[in-house]
């Protein structure tokens, strides 16, 4: 044995001892370094999850508010703002729900909060009620005419542009500027109160556009005429011409 040990060259001995020390050190350090609960559920510390869920809540959630403010919640539930959560306007209020006396949420009484959602932007989807705040009853706070919890306007909007602003502004610069919305869309008045329940009609056939554009109509108006039988009979007109901006080019 001893012979064998002696027969190993000196440098090999040293290097293997060093190697053993390194491997041992690695095992010891690793055992110490890797937390006890690492790898129980996966390649991570189980207690990380505890630390993550220990984070405090800032937003209590609408269900919580409704427990004490059932009058407001009930009113809002049947209004245009039914999907707008309380804390969107009142700010985070979980602390208030825990202890209503020490923490009081604020209410947006100025004219700046509502336009975050209601200012006219081209990118907003059609049907969303929009205003231009500098010209919509300026200087008065919104709440003097609209109850924030049931914002139904004091009078029914007369203009389609209230909710279809983008279509309206495109059309008003087009050749159809003087063709009324209602000429093409038979619209019940209720559409302006419950827009999704009373959907307006849309033109369904080529003949609808033909009322004005067919070359069989002989009069002296300025409306450009086409032959209904020869002008692209395979398609309905609005597959090529956007009816709110009907450029022929």
């Amino acid at each position: 044995m001893k012979n064998y040990w002696n027969s190993i060259p000196e440098q090999v001995k040293r290097i293997s001892i060093l190697l053993i020390v390194i491997v041992a050190a690695f095992i010891v350090i690793r055992a110490n370094l890797v937390p006890k609960d690492f790898g129980e559920l996966g390649h991570y510390r189980t207690s990380a999850i505890d630390e993550i869920i220990a984070q405090n809540l800032k937003y209590g959630g609408e269900i919580l508010c409704s427990e004490c403010h059932d009058d407001v919640a009930e009113k809002k539930a049947s209004s245009f703002h039914k999907n707008v959560s309380c804390e969107v306007c009142h700010g985070p209020a979980a602390d208030h729900a825990d202890d209503p006396d020490s923490f009081t949420p604020t209410a947006p009484k100025d004219r700046d909060t509502c336009p975050i959602c209601h200012e006219y932007l081209q990118s907003r989807p059609t049907g969303f009620p929009q205003i231009i705040s500098v010209s919509h009853n300026p200087f008065k706070p919104c709440k003097s005419c609209h109850n924030a919890h049931d914002p139904t306007p004091p009078e029914t909007p007369k203009e389609c542009s209230a909710c279809h602003k983008e279509i309206f502004s495109v059309k008003s610069l087009s050749h159809h500027a003087f063709v009324e919305c209602k000429t093409c869309h038979k619209t019940k008045d209720n559409h302006r109160l419950s827009p999704r329940e009373f959907i307006p009609e849309k033109p369904t056939s080529r003949n609808f556009c033909g009322q004005c554009h067919s070359d069989e109509i002989v009069n002296n108006d300025e409306i450009p005429k086409i032959s209904m039988t020869e002008h692209e009979p395979k398609y309905v007109c609005w597959q090529c011409h956007y009816p709110h901006l009907p450029e022929a080019k």
Binding site: K36, D37, G42, S47, S85, E87, P92
Partner: protein, 261 residues
């Protein structure tokens, strides 16, 4: 000869000290880190929440988004995300697609103050908003690259970050194809959307979903239980971002334009 012996001496000293300090440096924090452990069973009982019963996902309907940015703002408040620009767990982008084919994308301060009108002489083809968020991939590339196991997919499908274990190496930020991660300037660890994990285990909605006024964001179980995601996936043509990367996102988009990256 004498010179080299001396050299040897100092080298040995140096090596010895290096060993000591390495041992010290490794052992001390691992002692501190112990003692916080709590078993998964206790956790389930404690919160009355069993992660094995859930698998979370989100649906985003582009046609319903009005670009008010309440999601981005409430996310920052709820999760202590720094108020400065560039730090976001969720944000909203605005797309302008012009008739000449040009696509302009903007997201002023992540939309936490909403958007203002842009004026352009060019005629517009269409325009819309796209809320962005960590896609909670089922095959998350960020988890694969983390060298220490500080980011992981939990049992209920949410990709989380262990901020106390993260070494701040930024590999995950490089690996994320959606740009959904950032280094938190205070904790100096990686940070990203957790689907508000601390809220969902308590039966609450994520802050962005709670505060979305038009239900453009819906949240719920993916295939495990009845949830709003069911109808969302049935009624809409669903897309995910960058499907070619096979990350299998669990954030589903409805009415997503081809131009959206």
């Amino acid at each position: 000869m004498i010179d080299s012996e001396k050299n040897d001496e100092t080298r040995r000293n140096f090596l010895r000290k290096l060993c000591y300090s390495a041992v010290l440096a490794f052992v001390s924090p691992s002692l501190v880190m112990r003692g916080k452990n709590k078993k998964i069973v206790e956790w389930i009982i404690g919160e009355n929440y069993n992660p094995y019963d859930h698998y979370w996902s989100m649906g985003i309907d582009i046609n319903k988004c009005i670009g008010c940015g309440r999601c981005a703002e409430s996310c920052k408040i709820e999760n202590n995300v720094p108020k400065e620009p560039f730090f976001f767990r969720t944000w909203v982008e605005r797309y302008h697609i012009y008739k000449d084919g040009e696509v302009a994308i903007d997201s002023p301060n992540g939309a936490i103050n909403g958007f203002s009108k842009v004026v352009s002489e060019k005629s517009l083809e269409k325009s819309f908003f796209v809320p962005k968020i960590c896609n909670q991939c089922d095959h998350p590339p960020c988890v694969q690259v983390c060298p220490v196991g500080a980011t992981f997919k939990s049992i209920d499908g949410v990709v989380l970050v262990d901020a106390n274990y993260c070494i701040g190496c930024r590999y995950c930020i490089q690996a994320c194809p959606y740009g959904a991660r950032y280094i938190h300037p205070v904790t100096r660890s990686a940070d990203k959307c957790t689907f508000c994990y601390h809220r969902i285990v308590k039966g609450k909605l994520p802050a962005c979903v709670e505060n979305c006024p038009t239900q453009a964001r819906v949240f719920g179980e993916f295939k495990k239980k009845a949830s709003p995601i069911e109808r969302f996936r049935r009624m809409n043509k669903i897309n995910v971002l960058k499907p070619a990367l096979n990350t299998e996102p669990k954030v589903f988009y409805a009415n997503l334009d081809m131009e959206v990256k």
